[in-house]
């Protein structure tokens, strides 16, 4: 069965997990890497919270999940896709950061007794948001939320101390970062294919959302440019291959422009209101969901840059 599926996947690049009215598509990137690409929408019951990219990687002995989905239901679809692809056990569930679209599927994997892995600040970030997320997302996600739990990492990764896990002849290197998109960002690097999962340190197509530090994020992006990569799977958007540096530069341009403009407003004793009405508006056509998140990015950047 496993071999059959493998052969099938050589000719068909995606599989559909059908459950009720929802088609949940898993694409194969090649060499044991599979992902579901999230839609560029806000989370809703209709899209089951499946707005972020979630992935799994298969080694010789183990499977690792990289982000578990935006609802318990998405987590269970992802798990079903894994079970239809391989008989190997799910040993690891890695969360790239605290946001609901990357962690709410965790509970669907409890039955596999995996090791949950995240940034050393992930558990605290989860606890701080738990009550708020719980009451907000119960409403937003409706019945797809049922079963969702906040499962903190059992193994954590600290800044400047990358952790390597082995899936059987396949090593994944996990790196924790300074405060950037959030204060608990983690990337995953697959040595075999030189693929990097950036989590939400990189958004493609969809506007990035700042919930950490604009200065930290710009630093992290600058450093990322010097990596040796074949492929990036971003937190949101289409995976980038030879164009991965372009994608990072595109996002860097957005934040650098915003930072420059906000700094000059602050220097001129301007207000958040002034900033949200003028900063970065030229970038609107470059990003999906710009109107929903841009002003928030300006607000969050403003209160950080006020202390420079």
């Amino acid at each position: 069965m496993k071999r059959f599926f493998g052969l099938l996947l050589l000719t068909v690049s995606s599989i559909n997990i059908s459950s009720g009215a929802t088609d949940y598509t898993i694409s194969e990137l090649g060499e044991g890497i599979y992902y579901h690409q999230g839609v560029h929408e806000d989370a809703s019951a209709q899209n089951i919270g499946a707005i972020a990219n979630v992935s799994f990687v298969i080694g010789d002995t183990c499977v690792a999940v990289i982000d578990s989905g935006g609802s318990y239901l998405e987590g269970s679809y992802l798990r079903k896709a894994i079970k239809e692809t391989t008989d190997l056990p799910i040993c690891y569930v890695i969360n790239t950061h605290v946001h609901p679209d990357h962690t709410f599927g965790n509970a669907a994997f409890k039955i596999d007794k995996p090791t949950f892995i995240g940034h050393s600040k992930l558990a605290a970030a989860m606890e701080a948001r738990k009550t708020y997320f719980d009451h907000t997302f119960k409403d937003i996600l409706g019945s797809t939320y049922t079963g969702t739990e906040f499962i903190p990492p059992s193994i954590t990764v600290e800044n400047n101390k990358p952790l390597t896990i082995d899936l059987g002849n396949r090593k994944l290197e996990l790196t924790a970062y300074i405060t950037a998109h959030t204060d608990n960002d983690l990337t995953v690097f697959d040595d075999t294919t030189k693929t990097l999962w950036t989590g939400d340190l990189l958004f493609i197509e969809r506007i990035p959302a700042l919930d950490g530090s604009i200065n930290g994020w710009i630093t992290v992006m600058d450093n990322m440019l010097s990596l040796d990569l074949n492929c990036i799977i971003p937190g949101h958007g289409t995976p980038a291959h030879s164009n991965w540096k372009e994608a990072i530069n595109h996002q860097l341009h957005y934040f650098n422009l915003m930072r420059d403009q906000i700094r000059s407003i602050i220097a001129n004793l301007g207000t958040i209101d002034e900033a949200t009405k003028s900063v970065g508006l030229t970038e609107q056509s470059n990003w999906e969901l710009f109107d929903q998140y841009h002003r928030r990015n300006v607000t969050a950047s403003f209160v950080e840059l006020e202390w420079e």
Partner: protein
């Protein structure tokens, strides 16, 4: 102050009776009738007092942790008739009573901005209490932010590292001319919902309780602040220095720590 504490306890009790947890999703029943009685008793409040006050807030809380709110008066303060207090109520926040600005008659036209946490869809109210005791209200409805924005701090470590750092920001003022001024103090303003990983405990509420801004030892704005106020509390206001002197901001937090800064004009 004691009366306020009793009132707060009363509100919590009433909310419990109504089966409304402060953490519940947007309440189905409006809380204002209950809050009104708890905070102001049976005193009449004139609604839509648009001839006296303006409240500005974004239609949507872009970032749930930082929602800028501005209150302006349309009638200048005079020693005979002035706004003594402006109460800010955010109906659906865990603690609705968010701030009480005690204002000097010397302020002229009131123009005050601050930043609040807004958890969910809510009315935000500014209630002016005149020196004759009458109450006048304006309000704005603010939609909750979408997605992953939470009222939690973004970088607890950074906020704590610069705790107590202050800024008084203003242009070089001209005597007799109104000047816009911002007082800002770095403080994590823990609301009691944050978790400390190292101790595996909730961090007790620890927030700025009072900000007093004075000019030549006369208070211009003295504000009692609660847990709705954003991390790094900021008060922006306009005043008119008539003589040279010293603008001073004194901060007290809920643990009794004090921070202070002054600027010569």
């Amino acid at each position: 102050m004691f009366k306020q504490v009793i009132n707060l306890m009363l509100v919590s009790f009433i909310l419990m009776l109504f089966g409304l947890s402060a953490q519940a999703a947007t309440p189905k029943e409006p809380l204002w009738p209950t809050l009104k009685v708890a905070y102001f008793g049976d005193k009449p409040i004139r609604e839509n007092a648009n001839d006296l006050l303006v409240i500005e807030a974004p239609k949507r809380a872009e970032d749930a942790a930082i929602v800028p709110i501005t209150v302006k008066s349309l009638v200048a303060q005079t020693p005979d008739k002035y706004i003594k207090n402006i109460h800010i109520i955010i109906d659906n926040n865990p603690e609705p009573y968010s701030a009480n600005f005690h204002l000097s008659p010397a302020l002229g036209l009131i123009d005050i901005s601050t930043r609040m946490r807004v958890d969910q869809y809510t009315d935000i109210r500014a209630i002016a209490e005149m020196n004759d005791g009458s109450l006048h209200m304006v309000s704005r409805f603010v939609k909750a932010s979408g997605g992953c924005s939470a009222p939690a701090g973004k970088d607890a470590a950074a906020a704590l590292a610069r705790l107590g750092k202050m800024q008084i920001r203003m242009r070089t003022p001209t005597l007799g001319e109104p000047v816009q001024t911002q007082v800002i103090v770095s403080h994590p303003n823990y609301n009691g919902l944050q978790f400390d990983q190292a101790s595996r405990r909730y961090i007790p509420a620890h927030y700025v309780k009072n900000i007093n801004i004075s000019y030549n030892d006369t208070s211009l704005i003295n504000v009692d602040t609660g847990i709705s106020v954003s991390e790094d509390p900021s008060i922006r206001f306009t005043f008119t220095p008539k003589l040279n002197g010293v603008l001073k901001a004194d901060i007290i937090d809920s643990e009794g720590q004090t921070f202070s800064m002054q600027k010569e004009i």
